[in-house]
């Protein structure tokens, strides 16, 4: 257990804990608004921003790159929003289109950057897979500070977010300002994604946002409980993933976190009371028993004759 005394590990684990936690919280709203894949889209769309920031400033400092990522991520989110509002193109198609063309732009800029003398290829790998194990204290500090602000935002706007996520039409009718609220939520999602890319990378970011929230949803119908559980699940996945990575030689952190997250979802989907699959199967079997017993006849387990 010497790993726990290792300074690097503590830094990494703390960063993953915070990221996992805040992803769970913000992800809850994204999942409820049926915008789960926004995380996937924004993380891909962030690439051109990252590279452009590097090209323009010549600095490889994390904060600068993240600022670039934020800018392009937000632009993408706004473009998607605009497209969905003004045309018949639906959210998933707009998301796929914007994110992939932005990523294309990113690869173009990347090939520009690679021609510069001090550029390295490692940057892109880190972007795609995350580099949790290379997290510095300064990175973790940034994450903690941002998470703190995001959490503050969630608490302040709790009432509005709650109504807006569950029933946007009702929210609009009740006079909640739809555009600003939507913008704020999107902004918070983008910030979370940009922060999270450092840990798990572009490809896996969507799981960070969705999995803890999806798992938490199985255990409670109340938003407050769901959000807290999502934070716990996310944070735990982060730490466990970091730990698994530390002790399993060569096991990359991002994928480890995602696997843990995935297992939480599987366990929740199966075992949660009421919503869980096993619980529902048992209830169904008991009811069939009651149905056939009351009609005193054979029960054919007819699983349907048509396509569903």
């Amino acid at each position: 257990m010497t790993v726990f005394k290792d300074y690097t590990f503590i830094v990494v684990a703390l960063g993953c804990l915070a990221l996992g936690g805040i992803s769970g919280v913000i992800g809850s709203f994204a999942v409820l608004r049926k915008q789960s894949l926004l995380g996937d889209g924004v993380s891909h769309a962030a690439l051109p921003g990252v590279v452009a920031a590097f090209l323009l400033t010549g600095i490889k400092n994390t904060a600068v790159l993240l600022a670039g990522a934020l800018f392009s991520g937000l632009t993408a989110a706004l473009l998607i929003s605009f497209t969905v509002k003004k045309t018949k193109v639906r959210f998933d198609a707009a998301l796929a289109t914007v994110m992939s063309s932005f990523f294309g732009l990113g690869t173009v800029l990347l090939t520009c950057a690679q021609k510069l003398p001090d550029a390295t290829q490692a940057g892109l790998s880190a972007f795609i897979y995350g580099q949790a194990s290379a997290m510095l204290k300064s990175d973790v500090l940034l994450i903690l500070v941002c998470s703190g602000f995001l959490l503050l935002g969630v608490i302040l706007f709790w009432k509005e977010f709650k109504v807006f996520s569950f029933d946007p039409e009702f929210a609009v009718q009740s006079g909640y300002p739809e555009k600003p609220l939507s913008l704020v939520l999107s902004l918070m999602t983008v910030i979370t994604v940009i922060l999270g890319i450092q840990t798990v990378g572009v490809v896996l970011m969507s799981a960070m946002l969705i999995a803890p929230a999806a798992a938490a949803r199985q255990w409670s119908d109340r938003l407050s409980v769901m959000v807290v559980l999502a934070a716990l699940f996310g944070g735990a996945s982060g730490v466990l993933g970091a730990y698994a990575s530390a002790v399993g030689e060569g096991l990359p952190t991002g994928p480890a976190i995602v696997v843990v997250s995935g297992l939480t979802v599987a366990a929740s989907v199966l075992f949660a009371p009421k919503r869980g699959v096993i619980s529902r199967i048992m209830k169904r079997k008991m009811n069939r028993l009651r149905l056939t017993v009351s009609f005193g006849g054979e029960s054919k387990d007819n699983e349907g004759r048509g396509n569903n």
């Binding site: 018949k88 169904r284 009811n287 009351s294 006849g297 054919k300 007819n302 004759r305 396509n307 569903n308």
Partner: protein, 246 residues
């Protein structure tokens, strides 16, 4: 089961039970719906009406029971389906004529393309529902009543023997309603069978010959003038029935 040469029933349902998770939606339904007549299926919300239609189409798994469509002159009858207009994707890039032509696809089978006579036949069906002027229009540019009539024309194009309809009169204006019921009566005179989920109590006696009152279980089923009584209606629409199935 009656094996006479020409079965007088178009649809036979026996001991049909459908449940979503632990909640029963249809319980031990026994029905024999007559051929060549207009049948209304009625009941309160959640009574299982749409579920009954879907079960007849073989679209949902059942706990128990059997549904059969007796043969007409030795052949299996063709079932036409007219869904509620909300269930369609109206932004899909097809025209009204395209939608109605789809009704012919079942007869063509796999791979064969629709021929000119299929498209002409589709136009005929559109004329019957008064939609021929809209043939080239993309379907999102239609009103609710026009959408309904498009789906009806599609069922006609299927050359169906039995028409299963889910609330065909919902959200349509009076003129459309009259034209639809005229068309249904024309179908009846051709010996076709219509089974429609219906919501408007005031029009049942005018429009339909047969009515099935359902509230998870069958409350009553038979000729309108015999079955459509205050007593039966009270039993059907009384809320206590829902859930009280044992």
């Amino acid at each position: 089961m009656n094996n006479s040469a020409e079965n007088e029933y178009a649809v036979e349902v026996s001991r049909l039970t459908v449940a979503y998770d632990s909640k029963p939606v249809l319980s031990n339904v026994d029905l024999e719906l007559p051929r060549g007549m207009l049948t209304a299926v009625m009941g309160p919300n959640g009574a299982g009406k749409t579920t009954l239609i879907k079960a007849m189409l073989g679209l949902i798994p059942t706990v128990n029971g059997k549904i059969s469509f007796p043969e007409i002159k030795g052949k299996k009858p063709c079932i036409g389906y007219v869904p509620q207009s909300e269930s369609a994707d109206w932004d899909f890039p097809v025209s009204v004529l395209d939608v109605v032509t789809m009704g012919c696809y079942g007869r063509l089978g796999w791979i064969k393309r629709p021929r000119r006579e299929d498209r002409e036949f589709a136009m005929e069906c559109l004329k019957k529902t008064g939609m021929e002027d809209y043939a080239d229009r993309q379907i999102s540019r239609l009103s609710g009543g026009q959408q309904q009539r498009t789906f009806l024309a599609r069922a006609l194009a299927q050359k169906a023997d039995i028409y299963l309809m889910d609330e065909p009169f919902k959200g349509v204006d009076n003129a459309t309603e009259r034209s639809i019921i005229d068309l249904l009566k024309e179908l009846r005179s051709e010996g076709k069978t219509v089974v429609a989920v219906h919501h408007d109590l005031s029009t049942v006696s005018d429009y339909f010959d047969w009515v099935t009152l359902i509230n998870i279980k069958v409350v009553a089923s038979g000729e309108v003038r015999k079955v459509f009584t205050d007593e039966n209606l009270t039993r059907t629409y009384r809320a206590a029935n829902v859930g009280n199935f044992i």
